[in-house]
Assembly symmetry: none
Homo-oligomer: 365 residues x 2
């Protein structure tokens, strides 16, 4: 199946209204993808009405085309379905992972050891400074910092991470826009030196109800969540609760008992979150829980992933300069559709990149 | 046996050198007091040398006389042996209670529900203010505040407790002097509205080695210990460790992770101490652990005292609305100076309050 056909089907399933995410996940889990659409055509997906079968098979093509245009407008744009090897395993492990992940930036980053830093939008200067310093220290030690691109603590954490390393923003609107607007330049930096992530289609705007949903992805992408500042009803407390439910470690930074911005942090510690007094403490706590793969990624951050993949047969047919598909076909002596499929897979695995005029090779063997 | 003979023997045992406290406690535990001195006379106390038997039977009479003079110089002075019913039960329960407790003030107070507040000598202003406020709140709720009479947090805790209630100072020198000297007036107030406590004879001066020993009594007299501020090597951490060993609850007040005066507090929380964000939280935690007697003492702290006071003769001369002093004089047919004196006493005992225009009655009989 061509890449865009595959995506069209995922988008149709994602867009299907009247069926909740958990039900969609159960369907995808229960029925092999190869049979899924045959059964859909025969109206045989369990629990779906006739109208829903129809909506699945005849989705809003205009909306899908707009989304695919976003995808194709920039080689840094990605749409990653749940079953794709680029989908981050730690997020796939949660109870309600998004069916599709929209990414602007480097999706490989989502496979690296990560810590979330979250906190109040109207944070204190001290809180923002601490977030920025800790984020810098943690990225220097090889960790990726995940946050929500909000004002206050989130923004400071992203800034600190960008000083020495990479960061992931999980956003409450589609990646076609930036919320809050004053973080537009920050979002651009993250696309270049990290990854912007959303479960919302590129054209979707920010809504209040999006942010609690966004928070489960913040913690789902992370081994642990650091709550830097949080008032009594802070959204960060939701992130902390979700993180605990997802089996992620929760850390909270203490402060004066008179500071309303710390009430939430102190409550979290009283309820069992770890008191975070130093970023190195946090890491020591987490290193014991990392898988060997994640530990290796931490020690050798960029080289690993590709080395473990088998070298694709077509690799030598693609040059380090733009190579037209026709040339690849001629060199490999394989049918065009086979070549296209393999090139797509090679692109997903990071061996080559699609560029104007063909494909360019990115790595040696 | 006369009271002073009994005390002389306890003092002789306490003064016996070359035998540690734990060994002395074991002897007192193993041998009934009625047989103890018979066996001593026959040289049959297990593990004691001939010279030690002699020292026990022929102690330094001059030192003992000086100590008994201190006892007899003031009706508020007490020397309480381990087996005395006035000895506080919570202190008797620890592994190494003092054989003798020297008290200046009200020894009954040592039987009431108590919380220790401890912290740095060179405390921050914020720390001292918090200690004072929490101590006031806790005494208003019926708890006694125990601390070490040191500068900084200790002094602030005693001051706060004295504003509405009572406090206990456990001291690192004999009660014949005050250390630090600038807390002399504070020590006098505590004698009047609380109790000064020491295991050292009245003539013993302050020594560095006394303070860690003193700390086990601070925690031993308390249901819980609140560490308000503590640096990395603070003596308060010793108190906290001793409290945990004694099975007492340990609370620590958080603060900025950048504040060196809080490092010890944060470490305590990381090691399992409860984060204290509010004095009421602390009490809720402790109420569950109190004995029925202690709970009763707590539930009726102020009404009990007042109820046990005789109803003042003037009470019916004061209305529940503001009553001019002239009216009280007219009704009571007593001289003005007598009326004023009695009104002041009634106010101290909580029967009436001074208001613009006179006095108002606060309670029935």
């Amino acid at each position: 199946m061509a890449k865009s056909d595959l995506l069209t089907r995922w988008l149709a399933l994602d867009a299907l209204s009247g069926v909740g995410l958990v039900r969609k996940l159960a369907l995808v889990e229960a029925i092999p993808w190869s049979q899924f659409w045959e059964r859909a055509k025969r109206g045989r997906l369990p629990g779906l009405s006739e109208a829903q079968h129809r909506a699945l098979l005849e989705p809003d093509q205009a909306a899908i085309q707009r989304t695919l245009s976003w995808l194709n407008s920039n080689p840094q744009h990605h749409i990653i379905p749940l079953t794709d090897s680029r989908y981050p395993p730690s997020l796939r492990n949660i109870a309600d992972p998004p069916l599709l992940l929209f990414v602007a930036g480097d999706p490989d980053l989502l496979h690296r050891p990560a810590l979330a830093m979250v906190g109040s939008r109207n944070a204190s200067l001290a809180g923002r400074q601490l977030a920025q310093q800790w984020a810098r220290t943690l990225t220097e030690l090889g960790w990726t910092i995940v946050s929500g691109l909000a004002e206050g603590i989130d923004g400071a954490a992203h800034q600190g991470a960008l000083e020495q390393g990479q960061t992931v923003s999980v956003e409450g609107c589609g990646l076609g826009s930036v919320y809050p607007a004053r973080h537009r330049a920050l979002a651009q930096s993250i696309t270049q030196n990290g990854a912007r992530v959303s479960e919302f289609w590129p054209g979707v705007g920010a809504r209040r109800s999006h942010f609690p949903r966004r928070n489960r992805i913040v913690s789902g992408l992370s081994q642990g969540v650091i709550v830097v500042e949080a008032g009594l009803r802070s959204g960060s407390l939701i992130t902390a609760r979700l993180a605990a439910e997802q089996g992620r470690e929760v850390f909270a930074v203490p402060g004066s008992v008179l500071d309303p911005n710390r009430i939430g942090c102190h409550q979290l510690i009283q309820q069992g979150a770890k008191l975070a007094s130093d970023p190195v403490d946090i890491i020591e706590e987490l290193l014991l829980q990392l898988s060997t793969d994640a530990l290796n990624a931490l020690i050798r951050p960029t080289t690993m992933d590709v080395e473990s993949l088998p070298v694709p047969a077509l690799l030598d047919s693609v040059d380090y300069d733009a190579t037209p598909v026709d040339d690849v076909v001629a060199r490999s002596q394989l049918p065009v559709d086979v070549v296209l499929e393999q090139l797509t897979e090679m692109e997903l695995d990071g061996w080559v990149a699609a560029v104007p005029g063909g494909y360019v090779r990115l790595r040696g063997k």
